[in-house]
């Protein structure tokens, strides 16, 4: 993936000389800056994260022989639950177009809470999914499921897309999710924690998706089952996407950065409080997804 794609730089954006000089500094030097100012430096360099205002929404030009169209699949969640791992396995399939210069998490729909989403935007979104003849294309933005405005956009943005969601024991997921909020915790501790906690209410997220997408176009995977039997569940995902289920990726037997152990880093009191907080949602999720194996989420096994 190019630096421009990673950092969402606007195509052709002019950069001041100072910014050019700064951009040539050794990697990691930005860590000397206070947390609060790192974003300012990135923005001064014309770099924006894909979910930030200012990131480029203009799609890349299709390569020779490629066409564009609405995504065939959209992974919507959940954060810190193995979505990146599973998307790599999906993208490894030879019948899937996966241009390495495009971020797997497009975050395009993240920008439309306050902006209009009309036909021009739909066409622009489709431009983000170039594909070779005979292949499918899609994205996996794990935050989509916890952005309440995204699911209502799906019938317009991707009316035929298949939706993927991977869920993980909320207690095991939470400490991992909190790691990604270091900068936010300096400025707004409670809001950063709430953001991480909120990502674990899968039942509510799935219920919202199902009000906008037919159930037969939604596949919910359980992270723990995927780890235990990668090939079996991957074959099911391939079939769900209309792909040959005989493909077996050589790499990615296990997620590369997985942390194991339900409730790691949580003291018993906090753990009990979180179980109480999530219990009703887990029950709702189990009602929507009969395949969910609650014995793999020990704290909720008797929920």
């Amino acid at each position: 993936m190019t630096a421009e794609a990673r950092h969402g730089r606007r195509p052709g954006a002019a950069r001041p000389v100072v910014a050019d000089v700064l951009s040539r500094l050794p990697l990691g030097l930005h860590r000397w800056l206070p947390l609060e100012q790192r974003a300012d430096l990135r923005h001064a360099l014309g770099r924006f994260q894909p979910d930030e205002d200012g990131s480029g929404l203009i799609p890349p030009p299709p390569a020779p022989g490629e066409t564009t169209g609405p995504p065939d699949y959209i992974g919507m969640g959940a954060t810190s639950a193995g979505a990146r791992w599973w998307h790599r396995l999906v993208a490894d399939h030879p019948e899937v177009s996966n241009r390495p210069d495009l971020p797997p998490a497009r975050h395009y729909l993240s920008h439309f809470a306050t902006r209009p989403f009309g036909p021009d935007r739909r066409a622009q979104y489709e431009g983000w999914f170039p594909r070779r003849p005979g292949t499918i294309a899609g994205e996996w933005t794990p935050t989509y499921s916890s952005l309440p405005w995204v699911a209502p956009l799906l019938p317009r943005a991707a009316p035929h897309a298949r939706i993927l969601l991977i869920v993980r024991d909320p207690l095991a997921r939470l400490p991992v999710a909190l790691v990604g909020h270091e900068e936010d915790r300096v400025a707004q501790t409670g809001t950063a924690i709430a953001d991480a906690v909120d990502g674990g209410f899968y039942g509510a997220q799935l219920a919202q998706v199902l009000t906008h997408v037919p159930a037969d176009r939604v596949q919910v995977l359980q992270y723990e089952q995927c780890r235990r039997d990668r090939d079996g569940h991957l074959a099911a995902t391939y079939r769900f996407l209309g792909l040959d289920d005989g493909h077996r990726p050589e790499r990615g037997r296990q997620p590369t950065s997985a942390r194991t152990g339900p409730g790691a880093d949580l003291d018993p009191d906090t753990r009990d409080r979180l179980v109480d907080l999530y219990a009703a949602d887990v029950i709702a999720l189990a009602g929507l997804v009969p395949e969910l194996d609650l014995s793999l989420w020990p704290a909720f096994d008797r929920a």
């Binding site: 952005l147 209502p152 300096v186 707004q188 924690i193 409080r273």
Partner: protein
């Protein structure tokens, strides 16, 4: 500079210094830099200002570095659990309403303590035992014969706070002011961005989530009887502040004949709001429709006609 309330001065090694009066860093008697220095400081970006304050050891209660050692008691003061806790909502007129409550002679509201203690905000994934409860109580000094409390508008949206409040202040009376959720969203997002928050999906998502009032209030109703909860409507408070304030005083067990000098002081108004496209506004209203329906069912004294988004979204 934003009103920071009681700020603790903590050095890099955790050394804590004196308490500061509300806004004292720039406006009080203890520190008063020259006018030019204050103007130069204000001209910096919010994030740069915050970075400088943090480097100097100043943190606000909602920030990670704040020192939660309770304040020293004044002469004749005692500490204990809060008698009332305002739990929401951000940009719902809570600073205005808190000041009207604090004006009552039967209420202790020390000017060096921020109305938003934010203490419970920090315990989403931290242990909260008797020591933490006692520390929380230390933040509520009061004179004999008076009541005291806090109003942290974010508490409503933080899903872990209801349980902690039931544990640390089971007899407290809860206050919440609701406002048309789409208007609240606009105002809340404008406010967060003006305070230096990055314009990211999580900032927007936080602003959206805070408008799902029924979902949040249900958590409190698990732990608190409805008669211990006063749900006010911002639009009703704006239209009839005297009547609504008298009702608030009665709810808190205070003499409802008290009349503050001014009922209409604007506090923390957001200024020019971030634009919201009409089509996106309609989508937001539709997003909130079911939740608004539940709000009006749970609290029938609220006036649906005062929320334009309830009509637009079909609630």
């Amino acid at each position: 500079m934003q009103k920071v309330g009681r700020m603790a001065r903590c050095g890099a090694r955790g050394r804590c210094g004196p308490l500061w009066r509300q806004g004292a860093l720039w406006h009080g008697e203890a520190v008063r830099p020259p006018r030019a220095a204050r103007a130069a400081f204000r001209s910096l970006s919010p994030r740069t200002r915050t970075a400088l304050l943090h480097r100097a050891g100043y943190f606000a209660p909602w920030e990670g570095g704040f020192d939660f050692t309770p304040p020293a008691l004044g002469p004749g003061e005692t500490a204990g659990p809060p008698d009332f806790v305002g739990i929401g909502v951000q940009k719902g007129g809570t600073s205005w309403w808190y000041e009207l409550i604090a004006d009552h002679p039967g209420v202790t509201a020390r000017p060096d303590l921020h109305k938003e203690r934010h203490y419970l905000s920090h315990f989403g994934t931290e242990p909260f035992g008797p020591a933490q409860v006692a520390r929380y109580h230390g933040w509520f000094p009061r004179r004999r014969g008076t009541i005291t409390g806090e109003w942290t508008p974010d508490y409503l949206a933080y899903p872990w706070v209801a349980a902690l409040l039931a544990r640390s202040a089971p007899d407290a009376r809860l206050l919440v002011i609701l406002r048309d959720p789409v208007e609240r969203f606009r105002s809340g997002l404008t406010f967060r961005l003006s305070q230096g928050a990055l314009a990211t999906e999580s900032t927007v998502a936080d602003a959206v989530r805070q408008g799902f009032y029924a979902r949040s209030l249900r958590r409190y109703l698990r732990y608190f009887d409805p008669d211990r909860m006063l749900v006010l409507q911002y639009e009703q408070c704006s239209a009839d502040p005297a009547g609504q304030l008298a009702g608030t005083y009665r709810f808190l067990g205070l003499d409802d004949a008290h009349r503050p000098d001014s009922l209409r002081t604007a506090v923390n108004a957001s200024g020019t709001k971030r634009p919201l496209d009409p089509e996106a506004g309609l989508r937001l209203a539709q997003l909130y429709a079911d939740d608004m329906d539940e709000v009006f069912t749970l609290f029938p004294h609220l006036d649906r006609s005062l929320w334009p988004s309830a009509r637009a979204g079909g609630a």
